[in-house]
């Protein structure tokens, strides 16, 4: 099935620079509907106000971290099926294991490049 390039994507990061970089790279890949949040709790508010298809989130944020956001999303009957990719500098095995156990769809380690982002999106959504 073709990937819907108009799907709603929420990117979550406390660094505005990173939000801008990820947004620009997603636009280059052809995605049009991108929204932003600067931590997990702001993301949750947005997720409950509007339908999103994909979340790309940092891990290390305050007050709500990316892993907490992931657990909240997976525990919520309305949100649990949203695709979730973690993009983070946390690269220890225990982090990856914890994210996998919490239900992450894929995991990208910072610094990352456009090819890695596209590859991980493809692994979750299929080729586009």
């Amino acid at each position: 099935m073709a990937v819907d390039m108009n799907m709603n994507i929420l990117i979550v990061d406390d660094y505005k620079t990173m939000l801008r970089i990820i947004r620009n790279l997603l636009k280059q890949l052809g995605f049009n509907n991108i929204d932003e949040a600067t931590d997990g709790s702001m993301a949750l508010t947005k997720l409950r106000e509007k339908k999103f298809d994909f979340i790309i989130s940092d891990w290390n944020m305050e007050p709500m971290t990316g892993i907490q956001l992931l657990r909240e999303v997976r525990a919520d009957a309305q949100l649990k099926d949203i695709f979730f990719i973690m993009i983070t500098a946390e690269s220890k095995t225990e982090n990856v294991v914890a994210a996998k156990q919490a239900g992450v769809n894929n995991y990208i380690v910072k610094p990352f490049n456009a090819a890695t982002l596209k590859g991980k999106l493809t692994s979750v959504l299929g080729p586009f």
Binding site: Y15, T17, R20, L25, Q28, A89, P111, F112, A114
Partner: protein, 221 residues
């Protein structure tokens, strides 16, 4: 073993101290307590008592030297000046790199628009390079996180230094304050050297603007 003489007196003295201070005493009180014990040691002193006496005496001397050395280090200076300056400098690095990265991204976004307007092979090549610049700008997030870790480590050291200074009590703090005052007096009495002028970049709140500099330069005319 004979519990009379020095041993009995020592036991009596230790019981009295225990009653006065409880089971735990601060480092600050320790030297005084040991001094107090030594003063009670008289009369029928054995070779063993003498060895204990010498050991305790060297312990008193060691504690006093340690207190003097810590006071000379001016531990408050570490927590009130050096570490706050270091953390402020690191915060300024994060802010400056964030601003610079924002400027770079703004310029690159403009180039990307031009590349899409070109819409040919050259435009594609430019777009490819634009992607590389976006990727490279990742550094700002990574450096920011690394610097945050360093700032947290410095704050941890600051807490430990404060605890150490507190454990050695008021007299160490007072001696440290005196040392700091004396150091400042010595520094202010000295001529400004070339090294004193190597202050590095100023924080934006403290920095003189180009207009300030121009005005100052003009004041010499």
């Amino acid at each position: 073993m004979d519990k009379g003489g020095a041993d009995a007196e020592l036991d009596e003295r230790l019981s009295a101290l225990r009653a006065q201070y409880g089971e735990k005493v601060s480092i600050n009180e320790l030297a005084d307590i040991i001094d107090g014990i030594l003063l009670t040691l008289h009369g029928n002193i054995s070779q063993k008592d003498l060895e204990i006496y010498q050991e305790i005496e060297s312990l008193v001397s060691f504690i006093r030297n340690a207190k003097n050395e810590i006071a000379a280090l001016c531990p408050e200076e570490i927590s009130t000046e050096h570490i706050p300056i270091a953390t402020d400098e690191l915060d300024a690095i994060v802010q400056a790199t964030e601003e610079a990265t924002g400027t770079i991204l703004g310029a690159v976004e403009g180039i990307e628009v031009v590349a899409s307007e070109l819409g040919n092979a050259q435009g594609d090549k430019i777009a490819e390079k634009v992607t590389s610049i976006y990727e490279a700008c990742n550094f700002q997030d990574i450096t920011g996180q690394r610097i945050s870790k360093v700032v947290n480590a410095l704050r941890h050291i600051e807490e430990k230094v404060e605890a150490l200074a507190g454990a050695f009590g008021e007299d160490v703090r007072a001696a440290s304050d005196r040392n700091r005052q004396n150091k400042k007096k010595r520094e202010s009495a000295q001529e400004i050297t070339d090294e004193d002028l190597l202050n590095g970049p100023q924080f934006s709140d403290d920095a003189a603007s180009q207009d300030d500099i121009d005005a100052l330069m003009a004041s010499f005319d």
